[in-house]
């Protein structure tokens, strides 16, 4: 029993040590701008532009659902123009960033872990080293930077799509006029609402790409290990998104 606890404790400390080394190596690789600079633009396109359709798809249906849900919950004592308020606030501050983050944890995080994991087990990462490249500058930094920059952009588009489909659903399916919806949207609106959602998105971009890169670069073995790294990336990223969601609420909304 004692041996098992000891072994787990050692494993945990080792795990933290590996993460520490990974972070230190990644930070050091920042000085190699010539390597990560051009590749960051490539990753921004891959990670950002290619992820936009799924983010817009999710936001579109979330906007419709929110508008109908709000009208269902609001009784005759609550003015219906508040549908606009609820759609705007919820999409910008919560559902836009979180649902997009969860979708991208699956799409982007899993993709990064699978790609880097495969490169690791087929010695492509070793090959990079022998060609005098720093693999952290070549593989990790571009993906992490692309995540931090592109996630807020994707979420901004998702926010716009969610509000638009919420407006469309409200004005076509509910007894709400365009003016009423817009009035509700503007009521209690602060620019901070959008900023709050975008700050959260940037932090989601950071953790999803970092987790994907760490687990991908740590992959050893073969196809099974790559599959395991991919699955763990999705699970850990989803967990971290929810933790960060609560963290930002505590830090910025109190």
């Amino acid at each position: 029993m004692l041996a098992m606890v000891g072994s787990r404790a050692v494993g945990l400390v080792e795990g933290f040590g590996h993460v520490g080394y990974f972070l230190v190596d990644s930070v050091r690789a920042f000085s190699d701008v010539r390597t990560w600079g051009p590749r960051t633009l490539q990753q921004m396109r891959r990670l950002g532009v290619d992820s936009l359709p799924i983010a817009l798809f999710i936001a579109a249906f979330t906007g419709i659902t929110l508008a109908l849900l709000a009208s269902y919950v609001f009784t005759s004592t609550v003015p219906l123009y508040l549908v606009g308020t609820l759609v705007g606030k919820t999409i910008m501050m919560e559902l836009g960033p979180v649902l997009t983050g969860l979708a991208l944890a699956g799409r982007v995080g899993a993709n990064i872990a699978a790609e880097l994991g495969t490169m690791q087990v087929t010695e492509q990462v070793d090959a990079l080293e022998t060609l005098a490249y720093n693999p952290y500058a070549y593989l990790v930094i571009p993906r992490v930077l692309a995540g931090i920059v592109m996630f807020p952009m994707i979420v901004a588009f998702a926010m716009a799509m969610g509000v638009f489909t919420g407006w469309f659903a409200a004005t076509t399916l509910l007894p709400i006029t365009n003016a009423q919806f817009v009035r509700g949207l503007q009521l209690y609106f602060h620019p901070f609402d959008a900023q709050y959602g975008l700050i959260k998105s940037a932090s989601f971009g950071l953790v999803i790409t970092l987790i994907g890169c760490y687990l991908g670069m740590s992959t050893r073995g073969g196809a099974e290990a790559v599959g395991s790294a991919t699955t763990r990336t999705v699970v850990y990223s989803a967990e971290m998104i929810l933790v960060l969601d609560a963290f930002w609420a505590v830090v910025l909304l109190r």
Partner: protein, 265 residues
């Protein structure tokens, strides 16, 4: 000159190298032979700093590899061409881009020079029309030739080959052997070739060293190895299943997997 000095390396309980000592002289091609999983690739990875020794060291040009800081190690790596067992080509890049990647690290090299050197290297391995193909479109032998082109395009001082003919048919193996000889003549590089293919070892090697139980069992010229009286070396070069050599159970399939897993740590 490359010198392995009393090199020790273990992966958890699996001791792979136990005092491996070998000098590779300037300009020669040293072939390291030995059973699968005896640590030949592990030894080679120490030369480029992909692994750190538990004890002992590897010296390249008088520098102890494990003591180099990253910028110095990077500098050293620019002088070494490494041909991987399974080529390790970058899946997402074309053949041209694969070969050009190492050259583009050199700030002094203009793009026109990069193009010229890539084409020259691909011509040397008889793949002049493969530039725009992706690695997945090539056969195993062609991929190995591209791996070789990627290394020789750098015009390195040292060439390291990790089982260059493993998994290839005899004719393709002979072609790879010819290319190794041709690359040596063109570059004048000091080379280490890891193999357990004796025909290949006799064709490309100046000297042959056998790695057995973590140490060098015997080192000598091709003729000396062919005429050896050492029963372990004799059994290996003749490929006899019965004899004095003990193939370590710990380095069977399970042990080998553990060693490789550790090797990539």
């Amino acid at each position: 000159m490359i010198a392995f000095a009393d090199l020790h390396k273990a992966f958890e309980a699996n001791r792979v190298l136990e005092g491996f000592t070998l000098d590779v002289r300037d300009g020669e091609t040293m072939v390291i032979i030995g059973y699968s999983g005896t640590g030949k690739s592990v030894a080679l990875k120490h030369v480029v700093g992909l692994l750190e020794p538990d004890a002992g060291h590897v010296e390249v040009d008088g520098k102890i590899v494990s003591e180099l800081r990253r910028p110095e190690l990077t500098e050293l790596r620019t002088t070494i061409g490494y041909v991987f067992q399974f080529a390790a080509l970058f899946d997402s890049l074309t053949i041209f881009e694969n070969v050009a990647l190492g050259l583009r690290r050199n700030r002094d090299l203009a793009e026109a020079d990069v193009t010229q050197r890539v084409r020259e290297a691909l011509r040397m391995v008889d793949l002049p029309r493969a530039e725009e193909h992706m690695p997945s479109e090539l056969s195993g032998g062609m991929r190995k030739r591209v791996g070789l082109a990627r290394a020789i395009a750098l015009r390195p001082k040292y060439m390291l080959y990790d089982e260059p003919t493993t998994g290839l048919d005899p004719v393709t193996s002979a072609v790879i052997d010819q290319l190794i000889v041709r690359a040596r003549e063109a570059l004048g590089a000091t080379s280490i070739v890891i193999t357990h293919d004796m025909r290949s070892a006799y064709t490309v090697g100046d000297r042959i060293a056998m790695l057995y139980q973590g140490k060098v069992q015997q080192v000598g010229t091709v003729e000396e190895i062919k005429g050896t009286a050492d029963p372990v070396v004799r059994q290996f070069i003749e490929g006899r299943p019965d004899g004095r050599a003990v193939v370590r159970a710990s380095l069977g399939e399970a042990g080998r997997a553990a060693a490789l897993e550790g090797a990539e740590t």
